[in-house]
Symmetry: C2
Subunit: 428 residues, 2 copies
């Protein structure tokens, strides 16, 4: 059996300690599968004295992750600190410079610096693997890079932020508004230090941009992701959508179109009885569509110590087995620069608006929609106590452009009160 | 870029031609991802002159797959003929002898000879890969071997035969009995030449035994799979089960218990609104449970030219990239011989029986169940036109042993007409 593979683990939070625990619990099993032992050369974290849920006294310690990354007795630098820049970036650069392989769960860092880091690593014949960065324990990076490698990928769709899905699920369950459930999630420790990373869709957008790179052979272009968070999803829309047979999910979609690469992460309606619609709480789901394979759907825990550490370990074992994959499934230097495209694929839309309680009000709205070429699939008007009648419309397939046009024209009808809401309906 | 990887493809049925078509359609894409070209050195099939859905005139031809496997200009022998023995086995043996890597979709062959072939290949430093043998396009072999490699696997559960799922789905939809839908499936070409392979659960059992080997580090032991086909599933049970909120699926379960390895493939009831219950037609679903990752669910097309060829190509690309994995995720010589165990995990059961239309009949049945420690969760008695009243019982969790005991005692009550039916309920 070859020499053990020596890990340097930086970051001993939930995922780091989860990884240490797997290494300690399954040493024999892992070495049988990896074909060699896995050892921890040294570890690093911010606070050495912090009480942790694993015995780490047996490992050598480095205060500085960069020093850890440079150690000669480290074969694989495992970056689990997080942060798009700063020490995480400096340490990964040091690891690559000194000829280490890298395993990381850091989506933000790869979304911003993945191209440059992958090129640097590949120039030296070293690998960067990041299964844990996308959809927690679901092996979706491997599914796309390896399992579906024979396919031209048509589309990647998914719910990739468990915190947002938790908040939306809890809003529906409890009937409480966004701000209340946001606070609940914060108290449960589900939110990032900067909650906007979660609820603003940024974290999920990072993940989507990494998958899009593998799927379409393009450079990671997070800046081109059309981002909209869940902060404006109202409890009203959640209830109304449910009445019409839908649920609201923060949904990512990446697809290559004739006009370029479309990437968006935004609240969408999905049929309540569809696999995506039934996704509850912190679970993630990714749908991969290939020209030969059709749809492959993967579901699993999107976060948490065990699932994320499971993904970290899958990369470590991959390297221990001698597998050498390009970061994004083909040499980074061959990835092309994508042309960003706004969403052009037609879709049905959900429209909600308040109408003045006057004869002919609905007719005026219907006329505007008709003139914009938007045809109505279903409509529902609710009883009401004041002078505003809530109206829901599910349209047939139309374009975002037509919807935006119509929304801009509606105020002129003088029958619509407040801002109408339009949310895309995705049927996967 | 290294030299192209040279394939020898044996078998030009649906999957073989599907593979050729991907190679022809995506030559550039595949070589970008594989890091080298993929070429076809030669092909072989039973009938050279048959009209096929792809131009194969550009490839060299071998009448004998063994000769193809022995060719010096073949790097990877791709076995897509099928059959547990005969030419397929002879050719794979020849390929290994002459130092080729092997990619195959042949589950029957691996279920019977996988251990011996893997040992032979690994002794020579060559690999056998079989993603296409299990669950068509779903990359479940890779998910288990690689993605979940850091986990002690608790359980593998799945619907892995699309034809059986098609038959069961169509029976429910149409209300027609098994024999009618079996005939329909035969006419649609969904059945193997020997249909018992499908409807007897043998094909699905082959697949389960391969996944169990990877999951638990044990030698493939197909003979120990507790097999029951769908031939005895009645339209009555499908309807009654639906009334109680269930669907009947041919479900495979493999798990390591204190008493040994449990492997069974049999009709089970699953909640109709669960992911498994909602699986329609030819779709497959596999649920993998690991100690760290929890449940990972994979869903996709279980058969067909495109999906299966997609899986074949993923193995070919894996080899082209230089990845060298043991057939069953660890060296074949280190796999242990499993102790087969009969299912011991308690589960709820669905019982159906006809009772004589006399006072006290139900009380007698309830008494027997109670004496066997079986408690009733839900019961439903149907109206009836003759002297036999159909009764359905959903029990709380109990053992198969207790159920079997009770079934043996019921005739002595003289109130049960005909053979009672007992089907396990699985909640995944």
């Amino acid at each position: 059996m070859p020499e053990p593979l020596r890990l340097g683990i930086a970051g001993l939070g939930t995922v780091g300690i989860g990884t240490v625990k797997i290494l300690q619990r399954h040493a024999e099993l892992l070495s049988r599968r990896a074909g060699r032992g896995l050892s921890v050369a040294a570890i690093s974290a911010r606070d050495r004295t912090k009480n942790r849920d694993a015995d780490i006294s047996c490992y050598e310690w480095e205060d500085d992750p960069v020093a850890l990354a440079r150690r000669e007795d480290v074969d694989v630098y495992v970056e689990l600190m997080g942060g798009a820049d700063g020490p995480a970036l400096a340490a990964i650069r040091a690891a690559i410079e000194t000829g280490k392989d890298v395993v990381t769960a850091n989506k933000a860092l790869l979304a911003h610096h993945g191209q440059q880091l992958a090129e640097a690593a590949e120039a030296k014949g070293h690998v960067i693997r990041f299964e844990a960065a996308v959809a927690g324990g679901i092996p979706v990076v491997k599914a796309l890079t390896e399992g579906l490698a024979g396919n031209e990928i048509r589309r990647v769709v998914g719910v990739m932020n468990g915190t947002c899905n938790y908040i939306l699920t809890r809003m529906e369950e409890s009937g409480l508004p966004y701000t209340d459930i946001f606070e609940e999630a914060r108290q449960l420790g589900y939110l990032e230090a900067d909650p906007e990373l979660d609820v603003g869709g940024i974290d999920a957008g990072h993940k989507l941009s990494l998958l899009a790179s593998i799927a379409f052979g393009t450079r990671v272009s997070f800046d081109a992701v059309d981002l909209e968070g869940i902060g404006r999803v109202s409890i009203d829309d959640i209830h109304r959508a449910r009445d019409m047979g839908f649920r609201i999910k923060l949904l990512g979609v990446a697809q290559m179109t004739g006009r370029g690469l479309e990437q968006r992460m935004s609240p969408c309606l999905v049929p309540a009885d569809s696999p995506l619609g039934q996704l509850q709480g912190g679970t993630n789901m990714v749908v991969l569509e290939g020209d030969s394979v059709g749809q492959v759907v993967l579901r699993g825990a999107g976060a948490g110590a065990g699932p994320t550490a499971s993904a970290v370990m899958s990369d470590v074992i991959e390297i221990a087995r001698g597998t050498r994959l390009s970061t994004f499934g083909q040499p980074a230097a061959t990835l092309t620069e994508p042309t960003p495209a706004r969403s052009s694929a037609p879709a049905p839309y959900y429209l909600r608006m308040g109408l003045t309680d006057k004869p002919g009000a609905l007719a005026k709205v219907a006329t505007v929609l008709g003139e914009e070429g938007i045809s109505i699939d279903r409509m529902r008007q609710y009883g009401h106590a004041d002078t505003s009648a809530p109206v829901l419309i599910v349209t047939h397939k139309t374009t975002r452009e037509a919807v935006d046009h119509a929304l801009r024209r509606l105020p002129a009808t003088a029958v619509v009160l407040g801002d109408p809401v339009a949310i895309r309906i995705e049927t996967v």
